[in-house]
């Protein structure tokens, strides 16, 4: 009777189809200003010559993605005109007719096909487990963890962005490295960089890995570097691939002499250390420590209240957060911190590369390190660590544990993105769906070694439930809602920052100790 459940292909198809239907149902849900951002880009790429793209400033949402993404929007705009021509007029600010909404939402849903394909390829890279039960196979679990990822669903299909398509390119490039098709992998990644430059954060992992494992064709028996095996041909080919991609993308703008203008749009350093809602990283903890010190200082008369800056005392969550006790943080300082945080990982894969899995681990650390220490980090950037980590989570117990902690806290920290009452049930349902699935399936997969989480971690994660109840149900009814409306947000980001930091440290420990375990697996 269980005939249909044996076929992996049809199962993948059903999962992909199911999630697409769910996405279609969300077409009429709330969408953020990012919807207007992308509509504006459609309009400006459609109606203006290329030379104007990075100068146009009718809307406040100017084009701040690299050129290939602009070309992507340009391509979309040719289909968009069949839906509603009005959306392609630059002057029609905040235009959102039903046809526009339908088109933009469908464009996200359809472009996710790239993501589906990438997930399919990633599944092929897994060590195959000969389990009988389809629901217990790593391949099935990975498919669900990626296709039904809570963060992607709410960020792309409610909040509105094109992350699914971009992560599709990233995962595909990772899969190609797993399959030893390094040229394709490198090409895909350089394309990705030209689609959205936030992926620069993980570029160091790519650079070191390709140099060490691809340009050096051999290693010594103990895994250390063999200097003589360096292949110039490979390096030159790689360089050509990357440079030609950048030439295609930025070439026209260099020819027009617009490079400085384009770069100034891509890297706006005028923003503050933290986004309006603090991403759950080190700086959230730093800010709250500062606040705690200043309050304690005032209480014990160590600080003079008049000397403290206004913003920090009134506590408004303004973009420029003034630190009152601890030293203020400059962009350069965050850059140094980020680099310092990823350097050990890079050294590690240089000395003991540990194959594509070592590279993937390093990539996750780069993503997470930049999330922890970066300048003006968005909470959405956590997906850059969660999605690649899913691949590792289905293969080892320790990674599964890190994944559970990171995905639950990271996803919960996305809750403030959807602040409307209408979307409250849906985000809770979807979050529970993803969390229950990942917890139980990973627990069943690594049944042998006892509980996945230790009691303290379990307690911490359970603590998110009262936190949610307080932040979204109880607090809005209290009198403080009017005077301190930002307090729940602050609480959320600080609480989640603890979990993310914990996961980051665990990931580092696993990187520095992992080579032995993988060798064992290989022997088996």
């Amino acid at each position: 009777m269980a005939a249909p459940m044996t076929n992996d292909q049809s199962c993948f198809f059903a999962l992909a189809l199911g999630v697409s239907f769910l996405k279609c149902l969300l077409i009429n849900a709330y969408h953020s200003t990012d919807f207007e951002v992308h509509r504006n880009w459609l309009a400006l790429t459609h109606s203006l010559p290329v030379s104007q793209w990075y100068y146009e400033a009718t809307s406040e949402w100017t084009l701040d993605y690299p050129p290939l993404f602009a070309w992507f929007e340009y391509g979309l705009s040719h289909i968009a005109q069949f839906f509603d021509k009005e959306m392609l007029v630059v002057q029609n600010l905040n235009y959102a007719s039903p046809a526009t909404i339908l088109f933009q939402r469908l464009s996200v849903i359809v472009s996710d096909v790239v993501f589906f394909y990438a997930v399919k390829e990633c599944c092929k890279c897994l060590r195959e487990d000969k389990g009988k039960d389809l629901l217990g196979k790593p391949c099935f679990i990975l498919t669900v963890l990626l296709l039904w990822n809570f963060g992607l669903l709410i960020v792309d299909h409610i909040h509105f962005q094109y992350n699914g398509f971009l992560f599709g390119v990233l995962l595909l490039s990772i899969a190609r490295h797993f399959q030893n098709r390094h040229f394709e992998g490198a090409l895909l990644f350089s394309v990705l960089l030209n689609l959205k430059h936030i992926y620069l954060y993980i570029a160091p992992a790519y650079g070191i890995y390709l140099l060490r494992c691809f340009c050096f064709t051999q290693s010594n028996a103990d895994g250390s570097l063999q200097w003589r095996s360096f292949s110039v041909v490979r390096l030159v080919t790689l360089g050509t691939i990357v440079l030609s991609t950048f030439a295609v993308s930025f070439g026209p703008f260099i020819a027009l002499g617009q490079l400085p203008q384009v770069l100034s749009r891509l890297f706006p350093f005028k923003r503050g250390l933290c986004h309006a809602y603090w991403a759950p990283n080190i700086w959230a903890l730093y800010n709250i420590a500062d606040k705690a010190f200043s309050i304690l200082g005032v209480k014990f008369k160590l600080l003079d209240i008049n000397k403290l800056s206004k913003a920090s005392m009134t506590g408004g969550l303004v973009q420029e957060f003034q630190h009152s006790v601890l030293p203020s943080v400059s962009p350069v300082a965050t850059l140094v911190c980020t680099l310092l945080s990823i350097l050990p990982a890079l050294f590690r894969i240089w000395h003991r590369p540990n194959g594509a899995r070592g590279f993937l681990r390093c990539l996750v650390i780069c993503a997470l390190g930049s999330f922890m220490f970066g300048w003006h980090v968005h909470e959405k950037a956590i997906l850059m660590a969660i999605l690649p980590l899913s691949l590792l989570a289905v293969e080892s117990r320790e990674d599964a544990r890190i994944f559970v902690i990171l995905s639950i806290t990271g996803h919960y920290s996305l809750f403030p993105l959807l602040f409307t009452t209408q979307e409250l049930p849906i985000k809770i349902f979807l979050m529970l769906l993803f969390t229950i699935f990942s917890l139980t399936s990973l627990k069943t997969l690594f049944r042998k070694g006892g509980a996945l989480l230790n009691p303290l971690e379990a307690m911490y994660l359970l603590g998110l439930i009262p936190l949610e109840l307080i932040c979204e149900l109880v607090y809005p009814l209290t009198v403080w809602q009017k005077t301190f409306p930002f307090l729940p947000l602050m609480l959320t980001s600080v609480y989640c920052a603890l979990g993310v930091t914990h996961a980051f440290i665990r990931l580092y420990i696993s990187l520095l100790t992992c080579s032995d375990t993988t060798k064992k697996i290989k022997k088996q």
């Binding site: 199911g18 239907f21 629901l135 209408q422 349902f429 139980t440």
Partner: protein
Amino acid sequence: MENWSLISLCVLLGLTSRWAVSFHSYSGAGKPPMFGDYEAQRHWQELTYNLPVHEWYLNTTNNDLNYWGLDYPPLTAYHSLVCAYVAKLLNPEWVELHASRGYESHSHKLFMRATVLFTDILIYIPAVLLYCFYFCDGSSKQKVAAAFCILLYPGLILIDYGHFQYNSVSLGLALWGILGLGLGWDLFGSLAFTLALNYKQMELYHSLPFFCYLLGKCVKQGLTGRGFFHLVKISMTVLVTFALCWMPFLSDPNQPLQVLHRLFPVGRGLFEDKVANTWCSLNVLIKIKTLLSRETQLFLSFALTLLFVLPSSIKLLSKPTLWQFKLTLVNTSLAFFLFSFQVHEKSILLVALPVCLIINELPLIAIWFLLTSTFSMLPLLLKDGLLLPYVVTSLAFLFLSLYLLSALDRSTEEELRLGVYRKLTQRWLPKLNLSRIIKWKFWFSLVAMAALSFTSMWLKPPAKLPDLFPVLVSVLSFLHFLGFIIYFNLVQLMEPQRKKSQKKTN
């Protein structure tokens, strides 16, 4: 994975799709002066909150019965009253007498949607889960798959969360009744069903099978001994429940009559709008409404309904098993839908519930029926602006249920329960591959429904025939339903041996 996590995943998916459908429009949104069912439900909250009980069903200065007067039994009124208390707490404007008429706002829509979700979680969803876990055969995965398909049935989701009604309450209570009977808790079952009947009078479609099943069971136990006591206990339960529900109206003898008059408005004619039943479809050829007198119409519909109801009811009386009970529920409610007086298009949900219950035994036919039932409500859904959720949920249900229940593989002649039929017709008809014919018919009818859906969305009907597409939809669905009632009767009446052999294996 453990069972509990599979179940919670399936419930969460059901809830997600329900809430996602609720983002869309509701009936009569922004259409004064009468609005739609959404306003009717809000209006009942306003009435029950502000007026004394004895005025609820009466035309008074404060209660204009022509503007969405209360025409459901008392339990619906009490439910409205409870909702009204919550509404009063949240925003008194929502239920203010007279002043709140036609009130619409985003937060009010959220409130109304939340009340539907609440009752659904409380009544319908647990009943479905319990049903699947006690009465579906197969592994636990198959049980979850069946529950998932039932929860995803688009018709109910679209009407409750799109159009706006509380069908999950009445259907859920009826399902609790079926559960009670199936588990052998006859008193609990009759209590639940009586409550369902007091929530919506349309549950009368289901009452005959309940009656026959219980009577048949009592007869089996011996009407002179234990069976008689059992019958008395059941009737006492029903009577007491009824009395409790109607208590506030019993003080004045005119009151119950007035309520009954409101519940069964014979004066509204044989049918309204476009319904996929016999009368509306016949109307295309012969104008029955004008040809026949009101009394003849009543008599005709009564006679035909009785004719189609009797065989399966008698079968159930003689053989009160759960399987027969479910089939009788299907046959009786379908007969009522096709032939009785004053049928609404939404009443097809009453047939869909028992069909959902046989989705594990006859997957292909059940899926086919459920899709057709959703399709038959297309004109209504289009009017409410629910095109997108209609398309998405129907397609999702089609693909996922075909896949999860492996409906296409499980459609051999034996599994379609056509074995006896084959034996009977062997002599006169040439040998046909019935299974293949049915599959072809299934795909062909899907294509026809999809094509008609598309034309009614995109094309404008000719000026002479403004109702062309709704009529075509209802005639096409009627033809399907006619086929289904013949098929289900065949399955029920011609399958005595097979059931026995199955019992042995169990």
